[in-house]
């Protein structure tokens, strides 16, 4: 019955889209409208505190909310709300001159008071993606000039914080006590190139319109519609011109898209899947993690799970071809069961009479817990580990249950995936934090020290040198074992051209749909 339901759902989606597209068509000419679709819908209301805590949620919100510093078509910082800026010699004081032509979507003028308000408000109500706890004080020097002073030097202030921090409208938010429950359309009043017209939560649909008064030039499309759609339905709709861009087309549908005459924008996502270890359990020691790495055949994962359409990930956290990657030879842990067995034996493990690894005559089962999205990879991995002689207890749970198990440290291995792009600042969160997507690694504290040191760096070269050391140490200590760097795909028509930044969007979102593609 559930199967019929799924088929029904798919056809309903198609019909729903048609109906909706017609609805939109009545309002504007098709040539003036851009329709984007993706597999999952509803990214939440498009306002900083209420969009969903994921990449697409942030990106769609960024169409409505501009940041002080923007990104050019290569991802490099360019003026946005701030038309120019300067940093004091000690790296503590940032003076920002604001663009005087900016207005909010409701016509109110944008001033330094709004920036000051945002800083104060976000210190009281932290925004999930960017922490501004390091800001010590600010001073509004004139209606369009503000000075921000930091507690300590932060080399990533511009490229991580100011590029990502959405600026809130003081006249909207000053009366809001609990922004997480502020869901009115008013909440989406920003300074960005598009304004929110309609948000239908149940269907995961958004309708945005051009901000005619946008300070950065006239946005390219009069309307922007965002839908949820199954890939197959989307490909059909794209060939008939109803949809212009499909974000994250499954790789197995590339051929179908090309056959249908669509353009396929393919990029290595640098959002690798990685094997997470319980650092307070069996995999406390580096040697154990390395031994396990040698027992895994990553090429087989690429060939079987991704049918060759992915790359083997670099082991030093940073991935080849990204902004902060340094070219060097790192251990690749190519599958070598003999070496893995050797290392395990040195750690006091023995193979029992049943051919399974254990300690002191007792088989030790590896508790391998992961969520449904990793089912295929987990099946292949656990078979590799079983073939090597590990007893594997694989459990595939709902995401919430996986997170709970990770929190309770009721696991030995898990699979996760997160971006490796963005300013080195973001590594704190991805490697050391308690978040379920993090490695939750402490080690001897040396790696964390390195990251703190790079924050204090005075030149880009110095920073890069430290990140390079971090990369080498990561590959050796393996806070987690980077497995596969998957290829992501955007299918599109001639009307729009996806762009991928090697540093990711804002704090490192590896998607090819930054707001740049909506501008001429």
């Amino acid at each position: 019955m559930a199967m019929t339901f799924s088929i029904l759902k798919k056809s309903f989606l198609g019909v729903g889209l048609l109906a909706c597209a017609f609805g939109v068509a009545q309002e504007v000419e098709a040539s003036e409208r851009l329709v984007m679709a993706e597999r999952k819908g509803d990214r939440g209301m498009l306002a900083p505190y209420v969009h969903h805590k994921n990449g697409p949620g942030y990106i769609f919100t960024s169409y409505l909310f501009d940041t002080l510093i923007g990104q050019d078509d290569a991802g490099k910082p360019i003026p946005a709300l701030a038309s120019s800026w300067s940093v004091s010699k000690d790296g503590l004081t940032y003076t920002l001159a604001l663009n005087e032509a900016v207005t909010w979507h409701d016509g109110t003028a944008f001033t330094a008071e709004d920036v000051a308000f945002t800083i104060e408000y976000m210190q009281k109500h932290p925004y999930s993606f960017i922490s501004i706890a390091n800001i010590a004080s600010y001073e509004v020097m004139s209606p369009h000039k503000i000075q921000v002073t930091l507690k300590k030097r932060d080399a990533g202030m511009m490229t991580s914080k100011l590029v990502s921090l959405p600026i809130l409208a003081k006249h909207i938010y000053e009366t809001i006590e609990t922004p997480a429950r502020f869901l009115e359309t008013k909440a989406a009043i920003g300074t960005g190139p598009y304004k929110l017209v309609r948000y239908e939560k149940a269907q995961g649909r958004y309708l945005l319109e051009r901000n005619e008064a946008y300070y950065g030039g006239r946005p390219k499309y009069e309307q922007l519609a965002i839908f949820k759609m199954a890939p197959q339905a989307a490909l059909k709709a794209m060939t008939s011109g109803q949809v212009d861009l499909y974000n994250r087309l499954p790789v197995e549908d590339i051929d179908a898209a090309q056959k249908a005459g669509l353009k396929v924008f393919r990029y290595v996502s640098h959002h690798p899947s990685r094997l997470i270890f319980n650092h307070r359990g069996l995999f406390k020691d580096k040697a154990m993690r390395q031994a396990l790495a040698f027992a895994i055949d990553r090429q087989a994962l690429v060939d079987i799970v991704y049918r060759g359409k992915a790359e083997i990930a670099d082991t030093g956290f940073l991935q080849k071809g990204t902004a902060w990657y340094s070219d060097m030879t790192l251990p690749s842990y190519a599958a070598d069961p003999a070496k893995a067995a050797d290392m395990l034996t040195q750690q006091g493990w023995r193979k029992g009479d049943d051919g399974q690894w254990g300690k002191a005559g007792k088989t030790i089962a590896l508790r391998f817990i992961t969520s449904k999205s990793f089912k295929k990879m987990a099946t292949v991995l656990s078979q590799q580990l079983t073939a090597f002689g590990f007893a594997v207890e694989l459990r595939i749970l709902e995401k919430a249950a996986v997170n709970a198990a990770l929190k309770k440290e009721d696991f030995d291995l898990s699979l996760q995936t997160s971006s490796t792009l963005g300013d080195p600042d973001s590594y704190f969160h991805r490697v050391f934090s308690k978040s379920p997507k993090s490695d939750d690694y402490q080690g001897d504290g040396k790696m964390k020290e390195m990251l703190k040191k790079q924050q204090q760096a005075t030149s880009a070269a110095e920073r890069r040198a430290i990140v390079k050391e971090f990369q080498a140490l990561y590959a050796e200590e393996l806070p987690s074992y980077m497995l596969i760097n998957p290829v992501w795909v955007v299918a599109h028509t001639d009307r729009v051209q996806p762009v991928f930044f090697d540093s990711g969007i804002a704090f490192g979102i590896p998607m090819a749909i930054p707001k740049n593609i909506l501008m001429p």
């Binding site: 559930a2 199967m3 799924s6 088929i7 798919k10 197959q232 197995e252 087989a300 060939d303 079987i304 799970v305 049918r307 449904k372 089912k375 295929k376 987990a378 099946t379 292949v380 078979q383 694989l394 459990r395 595939i396 749970l397 709902e398």
Partner: protein, 274 residues
């Protein structure tokens, strides 16, 4: 009377012998079955080396179907047996014992009737992700109450018969009476209920597998169908979805036919005897 009793005993023996053979075959079958390994040949159409093709991680579909056979069929049969056994024990107690025991059992059954058992099943399955044994227990424990009232009515009818009264007069205990006199005469109903249970349990096993609420390592026809759903729009659906679906239909039809035949056989026997 005597032939009737021995006839029924023979039926029980037949049933148990049948089950033993089934179990033996299952064990034999599993030991000869190649393991359900992943491989490099992903999404291959049926060919000489893979008679029913391969799935998205290179597992052989035929091997999967055969691996899933006991996980679907045997689980359903054993769960039905367990549910029926529980139902008979409860019904007998409710019929024979008087007073609060009977009341307690009947009220318990009432309560269980009010709570939709499928919800309980889904809830517990989502929580514990049952494997082979867990599934038998879970399905057995959530479906026994359906039969208690029917069986109790039958047992109540049978206990008023002369043969039971005579046996009691001669000093026979209720257990003896139940085993020797009552159950044999309600055999057709038990057969019918058993087969009905098998059908329902099979659907439940398949359903749980399809919803992904079982142990991920346990391959069932339901879980194979679930895995096939991603390829619904591709020709691969032909060899990924159809085989487990057809197997499921075939087994359900088989159970239906078997039930009819058993019922007819029992009724005929009863007619002969009377």
């Amino acid at each position: 009377m005597v032939t009737r009793f021995y006839g029924t005993l023979k039926q029980w023996q037949n049933l148990l012998a049948g089950l033993a053979v089934l179990l033996f075959l299952a064990v034999l079958f599993l030991s000869f079955l190649p393991s359900y390994d992943v491989g490099y040949n992903t999404l291959q159409a049926p060919s000489r080396s893979h008679w029913l093709g391969t799935n998205d991680i290179g597992q052989d579909v035929l091997t999967g179907i055969l691996t899933a056979l006991p996980n679907t069929v045997l689980v359903a049969v054993l769960a039905s047996l367990m549910a029926l056994f529980l139902a008979i024990v409860m019904a007998a107690n409710a019929a024979i014992a008087k007073g609060w025991v009977a009341a307690l059992i009947l009220r318990l059954v009432d309560i269980l009737h009010i709570i939709p058992s499928i919800l309980v099943l889904l809830l517990f399955a989502a929580w514990i992700q049952p494997g082979f044994l867990g599934m038998i227990l879970l399905i057995g424990l959530t479906s026994w109450h359906d039969d208690v009232r029917v069986l109790r009515a039958l047992i109540l009818r049978e206990r008023t018969r002369e043969n039971v009264a005579f046996a009691r007069q001669m000093g026979a205990g209720w257990g003896y009476c139940l085993w020797r006199h009552i159950l044999p005469s309600v055999w057709p109903a038990i057969t019918g209920l058993f087969v009905q249970h098998i059908r329902q349990s099979t659907m439940k096993v398949a359903g749980l597998g399809f919803l992904g609420l079982t142990d991920p390592r346990l391959v069932t026809w339901g879980s194979m169908m679930q895995d096939a759903l991603d390829y619904l729009h591709m020709s691969a659906a032909l060899w990924l979805l159809l085989p487990p679906g057809l197997c499921l239909c075939l087994f359900l039809l088989l159970a239906l036919a078997l039930g009819r035949r058993l019922e007819r056989y029992s009724l005929a026997e009863e007619r002969d005897l009377s």
